[in-house]
Amino acid sequence: MPQFALLLSTPESQYDNLSPQEIQALLAKYVAWREGLVQRNIYRGSQKLIDGTGRRLRSQNGKVLITEGPFSESQEVLGGFFVIEVPTYEDAVEVARTCPHLVDGNLTEIRQLDPMTPPPAQH
């Protein structure tokens, strides 16, 4: 069965002014959503990325340019990702759509993982 990565990005300082009550309410939604994935047996893992850091290496004219994050040109910061296992992209979209991450200003990108096995010769 195909696996998909849900990449969750957030504009910086999106949450700074939330009250403790609002933080907890939002967290509870994430917990419930994640729990739902586990119960449907489609949760395969998740990982948080550390904020504000990161390096970009770019090879240009035979030289390697290294830049340090945060990368100001991007509006959104990739916060972390979930991996789920569902039959189709459409199913993955449905799962991402129910994620509490999808509130105003936030971005979710879905990419299918390459299974890294040679495709069966069908023809």
Binding site: Y15, S19, P20, Q21, I23, Y30, V31, R34, K48
Partner: protein, 454 residues
């Protein structure tokens, strides 16, 4: 001293988030950090706890809730506070004492943690309440600061509760924290010598906090219910500490419990205010009433009578009447006679007149109302107009009644109140101009009055 490295918490792992966990943890953690850093660093403590909670929001969705969420939050807050303190190392404001105290808290191998007389979590919270409610702070600032740092409300939530703006609330909070620093207010439960004065200020603030929540007619309802619950929670904490469990604290708590007990019956399904006599008394919260009565007993063990005692007695007279007709108005009038000696405010005098109207009739009530000075504030005070209108109605003076009700309507604060007065004016139009059977009446005020009839 190993237990100092983590804040006290239950050993049972928590997989679910208890209701209000973050809000209450906020207050507990700010208290704990402020005890270590000193009240002068309240802003740093607050920032550190907010940071920890935002970090939880960033991490827990991916990693799940940690086995010990409170310890997790506390550790993150410690390190954030330490970073902030270290950042100031080259500046004049650098607080080396605070940094040393926090370093020892985090890692006892760095030296003995300083000995504190305040250790218990409950004592830390009380000490923070005394900081926030210091007499040198203006009362509205104390109310906002208590809500923010002790109760863990957000600035936007406080602004919604007070129909104010976030900017205005923020300014109030910043100024209050500056005063705490400039005046070097200490993080402690005050000594017995200072306690009475300091406690008065605290009770005042808790009472205001409750009233803000009790004002049923304006602002966000959910938040308002929380304000009442918080006022009761903090007053209860004061009754549980031997230093602060004084009779007037029990009196205030019983008053708040009686008022809260009536909340569920105060409006009908359409959100319209109900008169005390129209309320379904089976909806009153019996558990709260019984708790209130217990605290009223404990309040009676003092040697002096405070306004809270009298107000609690007044509230008790209402909640213990099995039906409206059985209300002991003579007892209530006696209590108001005593209360007006202690607190001769227009609100108390108007409420006394209402009780007098029940005992001696509308003419006596109007005489009493007439003798209350019409200062600028009570001119605008809608309760007075509405009460005068009602007593004129009872005497059959319908034109005067209409005038007063219209005045009350002109300064009504909220939709339910407006609808209530419009209903009054409508029935007035259908009424024959003759003396009417004396009917009980409402108290349309919703703040700082003592004889709340709805």
């Amino acid at each position: 001293m190993a237990e100092r490295t983590t804040a006290p918490e239950s050993a049972i792992p928590c997989t679910d988030l208890v209701d209000h966990l973050f809000r209450h943890e906020f207050g507990r953690m700010v208290s704990h950090l402020t005890r270590i850093l000193g009240a002068r660093n309240l802003a740093i403590a607050e920032d550190a706890v907010q940071h920890a909670m935002l970090q939880a929001l960033q991490h827990w969705p991916f990693h799940g809730i940690p086995n010990h969420p409170k310890a997790w939050l506390t550790q993150v807050a410690y390190h954030r506070a330490l970073d902030v303190l270290k950042r100031d190392r080259r500046l004049d404001v650098y607080d080396d004492e605070a940094e040393i105290a926090l370093t020892r808290q985090i890692d006892p191998r760095q030296g003995r943690a300083p000995i504190h007389f305040i250790n218990e979590v409950a004592d830390e919270q009380l000490a923070l309440i005394f900081v926030c409610c210091h007499p040198s702070l203006p009362r509205p600032a104390s109310v906002a600061l208590t809500l923010k740092v002790v109760c863990g409300f957000g600035v936007a939530e406080i602004a919604r509760a007070f129909l104010s703006t976030e900017i205005a609330i923020n300014q109030r909070l910043v100024r209050a924290k500056r005063t705490i620093r400039d005046q070097n207010i200490r993080f402690e439960v005050p000594s017995p010598a200072q306690l009475p004065e300091r406690l008065d200020a605290v009770l005042d603030v808790l009472y205001l906090l409750f009233n803000e929540g009790y004002a049923a007619t304006t602002g966000d309802h959910l938040i308002k219910d929380d304000l009442c619950a918080e006022a009761i929670r903090l007053t209860t904490a004061l009754t549980e500490n031997s230093a602060t469990a004084r009779p007037e604290v029990h009196a205030l708590l019983s008053l708040l419990l009686f008022q809260s007990a009536r909340l569920p019956a105060r409006v009908d399904a359409a959100g319209d205010l109900l008169l005390l006599e129209e309320q379904d008394r089976t909806l009153w919260d019996r558990t709260m009433i019984h708790r209130g009565l217990r605290h009223l007993d404990q309040a009676a063990r003092g040697d002096h009578l405070t306004a809270y005692h009298l107000q609690a007695e007044l509230a008790a007279a209402h909640v213990t009447a099995d039906c409206f007709a059985l209300t002991d108005w003579e007892h209530i009038l006696t209590l108001y006679d005593l209360l007006q000696e202690l607190q001769p405010t227009p609100v108390v005098l108007i409420n006394r007149a209402i009780a007098l109207g029940q005992v001696e009739g509308p003419a006596a009530a109007l005489d009493a109302l007439e003798s209350i000075p019409r200062d600028h504030q009570s001119q605008r005070y809608r309760l007075r107009h509405a009460v005068e209108g009602e007593f004129h109605r009872q005497l059959g003076n319908l034109p005067q009644a209409r005038t007063f009700f219209q005045r009350a309507l002109a300064c009504a604060h909220s939709e339910p109140e407006r609808r209530f007065l419009e209903r009054k004016l409508k029935t007035l139009a259908n009424e024959p101009p003759s003396p009417h059977k004396i009917k009980s009446w409402i108290n349309v005020s919703n703040r700082t009055d003592t004889n709340r009839l709805y």
